[in-house]
């Protein structure tokens, strides 16, 4: 086997600021071989050592013990290290923190300039990389003005200009919307196919992992499973034990298998068409009529928020970030706001508690006592802010106090809460957000990423908002962190809080939201329940939505089933795999 990367028994520990070795080993005797020209994914929960592994491969860190060889080169001295780094391009998670050049083409040139590539070859390489990633038209733009998706493409272009043989993606798609993510992955997959570049992608997204040839599962600093996606996902218990998830389509297959008392093996999951075949086979095999899923019809609550004819422009009318938005929010519901990056979602939610005041139109909050508050009235703003809590994307970046307890209490003190009440309310908020009491005395900067997110959430919950607005609350979390976050959100709703959630993840929006509102270029283009919205795929795509993976897969199964059983009557698709499996089996059995 022609090896691109060989890692053998590598042990690595981080050192703290005093230069002491931390007791927990980031990598604990990890070994793996990556075939040249392959496309593989490294999966694992947060803190499992995935990123450390990637840094060891690119010799950005040196192993304490064990051996690494990249394309047969062992990093024994400085020159060898540079040789490896030159062959190994690295794209990081945060698009902003890897752009060195102010202008797009200057940034692309940074790598080859460091290598001393002379003109005119340098110019050729830069132009070719820009064309390949579709950024050539933007070459003279200021890099800071690019969108998140374009910035990540820029990072790829910068990598490509170094003519690498290996491309490492360290959660590079975590901050992108589904459309940008797809474009990004298509570029990566083209590179792998056309130029034979070995791709190593670290990701929390199981659907992304399912596109690879090979998956390595890393837990506690060593590889616990490796194999094709079909092999890995044919071991659902091990996958879940590792803190990972099954892709939605495979999850549906397992639900169908359970209903038909069958098992699923590796070949059944080989590729997309075999997955559909397996699902159809399993659906037709079931004998027992499963119970119909009953959704408790939620009573629509009273109107709690009303947005009327809201328009907003950042550049005095040249371009509208929001245009004539009308929207009602009902007490006790979960409302999802979806749409591409830059469609005005953040501007919209910034209006909800008066952080941004309407230029035209109105945002009104109706209170239980029959009075109402409007963000157009300055005297109402303070009251609105204490009733509408806003949690921005990556809220952990707003922590600043000496202790977590003080940080959570910050909003409460600003709102003028009574002293004796504060500590009780802080503890309660921390509990709801899923923080244990012993972290309250710690500095917020000592916490893990997930805990920081929860501390920031508690800092908003402490004000007991009637309406809680969350911008991508699960962004960047691992599968378990995502699940826990949504459990917390559901619990909050059950306790009576109205939730408005901005999300890129259509599967989650379909599953958790009562209603979905879709924005496109500042306008409201669609609104309804998940089944209404995704019923017509063509229309959904016109709205700029990507289909939930489950709906996409399920519609393929439905097509096959309709061919197989003419006259079958199929219910509209359901957002949970279990429910959907039962619905399909019921339809098959009743015809």
């Amino acid at each position: 086997m022609d090896c691109a990367v060989q890692v053998k028994n590598v042990v690595f520990s981080y050192k703290n600021e005093e230069g002491e070795v931390t007791p927990d080993k980031a990598l604990n005797g990890i070994s793996l071989d990556i075939k040249a020209g392959s496309y593989c994914a490294v999966l694992g929960p947060n803190g499992s050592g995935k990123s450390t592994l990637a840094k060891i491969i690119d010799v950005l860190e040196f192993p304490d013990e064990g051996d690494v060889a990249v394309l047969g080169v062992v990093p024994s001295d400085e020159d060898k290290c540079y040789e490896i780094r030159q062959n190994c391009a690295y794209v990081f998670q945060n698009p902003d923190n890897q752009i060195v050049g102010t202008i797009v083409e200057e940034d692309v040139a940074f790598g080859p300039e460091n290598l001393g590539v002379p003109l005119p070859e340098l110019r050729e390489r830069v132009d070719a990389a820009l064309k390949y990633t579709g950024l050539y038209e933007l070459k003279d733009r200021e890099a800071a003005t690019l969108s998140g998706g374009q910035k990540q493409k820029l990072a790829i272009a910068g990598a490509l200009a170094m003519n690498p043989k290996i491309l490492i993606l360290d959660e590079s798609t975590a901050m992108l919307d589904p459309v940008s993510r797809d474009e990004f992955l298509n570029i990566v997959e083209d590179l792998n196919r056309d130029k034979g570049i070995t791709v190593i992608t670290i990701t929390h997204d199981m659907n992304e992992a399912a596109r690879c040839e090979k998956i390595f599962v890393v837990e506690n600093g060593s590889v616990t499973m490796e194999g094709t996606p079909a092999y890995i996902f044919s071991h659902p218990d091990a996958v879940k034990k590792a803190g990972l998830d099954l892709p939605q389509d495979i999850d549906l297959i397992y639900e169908l298998a359970e209903l038909s008392d069958s098992s699923v093996d590796e070949e059944d999951l080989y590729d997309d068409s075999s997955k559909v075949r397996t699902a159809v086979r399993l659906a037709s095999k079931a004998v027992d009529m499963p119970k119909q899923t009953h959704y408790d019809k939620r009573e629509q609550g009273r109107k709690i928020l009303q947005i009327t004819d809201l328009s907003y422009s950042y550049d005095s009318g040249k371009h509208y970030a929001l245009e004539h938005i009308d929207l009602e929010v009902y007490d006790g519901e979960i409302l999802a706001v979806v749409g591409k990056s830059g469609c005005g979602k953040t501007t919209l939610i910034s209006h909800l508690n008066g952080i941004v005041r309407p230029q035209t139109g109105d945002v009104t909050l109706f209170r239980e006592d029959g009075t109402d508050l409007s963000t157009t009235r300055k005297k109402d703003i303070a009251a609105i802010r204490s009733s509408v809590g806003l949690v921005f994307q990556y809220p952990e970046y707003q922590l600043f106090e000496e202790t977590v307890e003080k940080d959570i209490a910050y909003g409460l003190i600003n709102m003028g809460a009574a002293e004796d009440n504060i500590s009780v309310r802080v503890k309660e908020a921390a509990r709801i957000a899923g923080l244990s009491e012993d972290v309250l005395g710690k500095s917020p900067f000592e916490l893990s990423g997930g805990q920081k997110r929860r501390a920031a959430l508690a800092g908003v919950l402490v004000m007991k908002p009637k309406v809680l607005v969350l911008d991508e609350p699960a962004a960047g979390l691992d599968p378990k962190g995502r699940r826990d976050m949504f459990e917390t959100i559901k619990a909050l709703r059950d306790a009576g809080t109205t939730i408005i959630i901005v999300s890129h993840n259509m599967d989650e929006a379909a599953r958790f939201a009562d209603r979905i509102v879709c924005l496109k270029e500042g306008k409201k283009v669609a609104q309804g329940t998940a089944s209404e919205l995704f019923e017509d795929e063509k229309k959904a795509r016109e709205c700029g939505l990507s289909m939930p993976v489950l709906y996409d897969f399920s519609s393929k199964i439905r097509n096959e089933l309709s061919k197989l059983h003419p006259g079958i009557s199929l219910m509209p698709p359901l957002p949970f795999c279990g429910d959907e499996a039962r619905s399909i089996v019921r339809s098959v059995l009743s015809c």
Binding site: R85, A89, Y90, N94, V100, G101, P112, Q398
Partner: protein, 270 residues
């Protein structure tokens, strides 16, 4: 909003000044910087005004950009005006009330001082920041100061640091706005309430901003390592600096302008 401020921002209008060699622009800038401080007489000020307008027109700077560049400086200009108008006691008294006196010399001086600040900002923006990318400014400084390398002055490193600092200004402004909004949602107050309250509001913004800047710095250092950055040695350049005939023409014309300015000043100062 913070992002409305154009101070230190690059605006591409594709003018001849944008294409001029940055080294020449840096030298021109130095010349004008000194000229602005030499100017003392109203006729010379007029010449300076005309020259500045010519610069603005040559650089094709849109009016709204110009205005947002100037806006943040106006309070400072006003402050300088007020200080000067009330402290200079020479000349004929024009107006007085209790301990405040305004004289004719004081007024002229005050206007002159305030205008100097405005011209200073205008020529800095037009000759440098608005028409030259930070990376080019850094390139120019690196090239102009390269003789100092013999004395082991880390010229390349300094210019790299400067260009990175400039590159991150818009990013950090965006970040500041984000944090301000987030803290405002938690009841932080920046512009009403007591001084202490406002100060507290800003602390809640600055600490997270520092923390994330350090994180960004660390990330960027790793990213630069990954892209094989190893200092200035053997580095090539995508856009090496080259002086063209047009550059020389622009340089001579603007230099002539400065010469006229100084000549006027010397003539009328007598």
């Amino acid at each position: 909003m913070l992002s409305d401020i154009s101070l230190g921002r690059y605006v591409d209008t594709g003018s001849v000044l944008h294409r001029t060699d940055p080294r020449l622009k840096v030298i021109l800038y130095m010349v004008y910087l000194i000229s602005v401080f030499i100017v003392n007489s109203p006729p010379a000020l007029l010449v300076l005004f005309v020259l500045t307008v010519i610069q603005l027109v040559t650089a094709k700077v849109p009016l709204d950009v110009m205005w947002s560049t100037l806006k943040p400086v106006l309070p400072l200009a006003l402050f300088i005006f007020v200080i000067n108008v009330f402290t200079i006691k020479q000349g004929e008294v024009l107006w007085s009330w209790r301990f405040l006196t305004v004289t004719d010399v004081g007024t002229t001086r005050a206007i002159l001082m305030a205008l100097r600040i405005i011209f200073l900002i205008l020529c800095t923006s037009v000759l440098l920041t608005l028409t030259t990318t930070p990376l080019k400014i850094a390139d120019a400084l690196e090239s102009l100061l390269s003789p100092l390398k013999v004395l082991h002055v880390p010229v390349h490193e300094a210019s790299m640091m400067m260009s990175i600092a400039l590159r991150f200004i818009p990013t950090l402004i965006e970040e500041t706005e984000k944090i301000m909004k987030a803290q405002e949602s938690r009841g932080a107050n920046y512009d009403t309430g007591s001084f202490i309250n406002r100060l507290k509001g800003y602390v809640a913004v600055l600490i997270p901003l520092f923390v994330s800047s350090f994180k960004r710095a660390e990330d960027l250092a790793v990213a630069m390592d990954a892209r094989c950055y190893k200092g200035g040695k053997n580095r090539t350049k995508l856009n090496p600096l080259k002086i063209t005939k047009t550059d020389v023409a622009v340089f001579i014309l603007f230099l002539a302008g400065a010469a006229v300015l100084i000549a006027t000043e010397v003539y009328f100062a007598r």
